[in-house]
Subunit: 169 residues, 2 copies
């Protein structure tokens, strides 16, 4: 990795995010299939649609800085997805497994929140207003996806299911 | 992984965090050595001290639920640290490299914020108030560490250094 300029850093951050999003495009349908609760399955499905748009936006940002998509695999997302796959393979109670899927997904969302936060700040520092807007839109959607998962984890069906499961355990 | 009960999920989440923190204990001194700016170096050093305490707290939480530290490696933190190591090895401008180290560290912080958020919520759902307090203390410290890094990335020396570098590029 060469970091001679702020532009180099920005490009490498956006390429890393692009690798992360494309890995996620493969992983999200598996997360959706593994979910038992229909609200959770819907949340994964609707985030898949958003993720396609996030990847498109990153391609637009890379065009703005005349950079290719890059060939480096985002190692952190690779690890996050490995962890998600362990959860998908886990045995046990369906509600507890759904809670574990939410936990894995929230780690992914927070990774992306950190990544897009950095990239949007760098775009701002470089005066790339269109890129900053595109990255900011995705950042907002990742934050919303995280909030939606928090609501699923702490209120409604999952909380009831878990409490019932917990008291009978 | 067996997820038969909420307690199973809580234990696996805390064991995952313990593996993450012990990996971070090895990585943070390398991040500190790679930083050029003394404020950033100090931030990594002081977070190393906090991280030792975070690992201790997780040991206390595991004692509360009568669980061992576990032998599974946290794959996500492994990936995050690999990414940090790529940054440490990167060539280029010292200020830009410092900005890249901050970006890598903020991804780590957000991973931990997600992990501790989930674990504290589960402790609450399980009625484990002491564990919830211990996890909540660490969650607050991870959030503070992230805010400190944002301040370093957007204000003061780094911003000036990057702007100077950016306009001369």
């Amino acid at each position: 990795m060469n970091l001679n300029s702020l532009n180099d850093l920005f490009t490498s951050q956006v390429q890393d995010l692009y690798s992360a999003e494309t890995q996620l495009l493969d992983a999200l349908p598996k997360m959706a299939s593994a979910a038992t609760n229909s609200d959770l399955r819907d949340a994964f499905q609707s985030h898949l649609t958003e993720t396609r748009e996030h990847a498109n936006r990153l391609q637009q940002v890379l065009k703005i800085v005349h950079a290719p998509a890059g060939s480096e695999t985002c190692q952190a997302m690779k690890g996050l997805i490995k962890e998600g796959e362990e959860t998908i393979r886990a045995h046990g109670d369906a509600t507890v497994k759904d809670a574990a899927l939410i936990a894995a997904a929230q780690r992914v969302e927070h990774y992306e929140i950190a990544g897009y936060g950095t990239a949007a700040t760098l775009a701002d520092q470089l005066g790339l207003s269109e890129a900053k807007d595109l990255l900011g839109q995705t950042l907002d959607e990742e934050k919303n996806a995280d909030s939606k998962l928090t609501k699923l984890a702490t209120g409604g069906w999952l909380s009831k299911g878990i409490n019932a499961q917990s008291t009978s355990a």
